[in-house]
């Protein structure tokens, strides 16, 4: 989880310390359609997992991303 938060902190331009697994990342100030693509790209690159548009509708928290990657 720490590694995931570290990775996500880059695309959301936030301090990892200010990010928690329960955070709804779509509420972060930086969330945008471009950040969506960065999220998909980074998850694809680092974890070899593809998040579709449909998947993303059910992924709301950082914990959800973690669970999706480790499914």
């Amino acid at each position: 989880m720490e590694k995931l938060i570290e990775t996500l902190s880059e695309i959301f331009e936030m301090e990892p310390l200010n990010m928690k697994p329960t955070d709804k990342f779509k509420d972060y100030e930086e969330w945008s359609s471009l950040v969506q693509l960065s999220l998909i790209a980074i998850v694809n690159e680092n974890y070899g997992v593809t998040i579709t548009k449909g998947d993303l509708e059910n992924i709301n928290t950082i914990q959800d991303i973690y669970d999706f990657i480790n499914k």
């Binding site: 945008s32 359609s33 471009l34 693509l37 790209a41 593809t50 579709t52």
Partner: protein
Amino acid sequence: MAFLTFNNVAITALAACVPRNISRNSESNIFTDESERQKVIASIGINEKRYVDPGVTASDMCYAAAERLLTEMKVDRSEIDALVFLSQTSDYITPATAPSLQARLGLSNSVACFDINLACSGYVYGLSICFAYASIPGIRKVLFLNGETFSKVVSDKDKVNFPLYGDAGTATLIESGQENKTAFFDLYSDGSGKDAVMIKGGGARMPSDKDTVMLREREDNNFRTEHHIYMNGIDVFNFALLRVPQAVREMLKKTNLDADSVNYFFFHQANKFMTDFIAKKLKIPLEKVPYCLDKFGNTSSSSIPLTIVSEGTSLADLSNVMLVGFGGGLSWGTACLDLSESYIIELFEY
């Protein structure tokens, strides 16, 4: 399996033009604030793009590119035996646009003329058809006209699509009798993803009526009618991420090449974020990936020939290049060919 090999056929000349009118993303009022604008421009890598005057179509620009090519190359027009026009922004729903170009260019009535409708994979697909025609005994020269005017189908209240698309017209001359030239094409489709990029209205499935022309709010505060281009960015991105590197590797395998021996990779100019990511995934150094999207945006099917014309003359060795088209359909394909003796006519403004 659509893997095609052609011997002794090659592109002998290319020409392209872009409209004079410049639309700068740095001046566009589509973004809500300056920071969003900067981020979008940095990510998509498109500073500006060109758009046609009202009344000007893709076929007009293709006509200009073809005139320039035929004149500069001193082509005997009676030797052109086929003319292919490829666009998603044709003049009319019917008839096809290619015959009108035959007449405008003063070509004979014995020219085979037809249109092809494909999205961003179109240049690779269309070229494969022109190579096939040129391989048939009796066909001397094939003229491939490929242009787009997405400025006519993009909503200026759509933050996803508006910053991306630009207009262009191109002409490519294909001839047989080119000794020691071999070209390979590898073509793919996945129609299960047809909804990812589409203009839904105005065809037979959703004829235009008073409802389809209504500007409506869609996802993320974007406004479109059913006659505007729609793109599901995430699904297209995932498609390209999966399929494009696969297709490039497959072409290298089938032609017994490694990525090092390919001089340049002309990718469809989708957006810089996507093509950089694909190049990185394939471990292709960025200096082998020519770009013109910073100046001309994503010109859909015509982005590959536009990049060859706009950037090709400054590149060292075009003897072994790969063309990589991918997009709506879903449809994608690669071509490996020798452009070292293809005459590139200087890009001009329409």
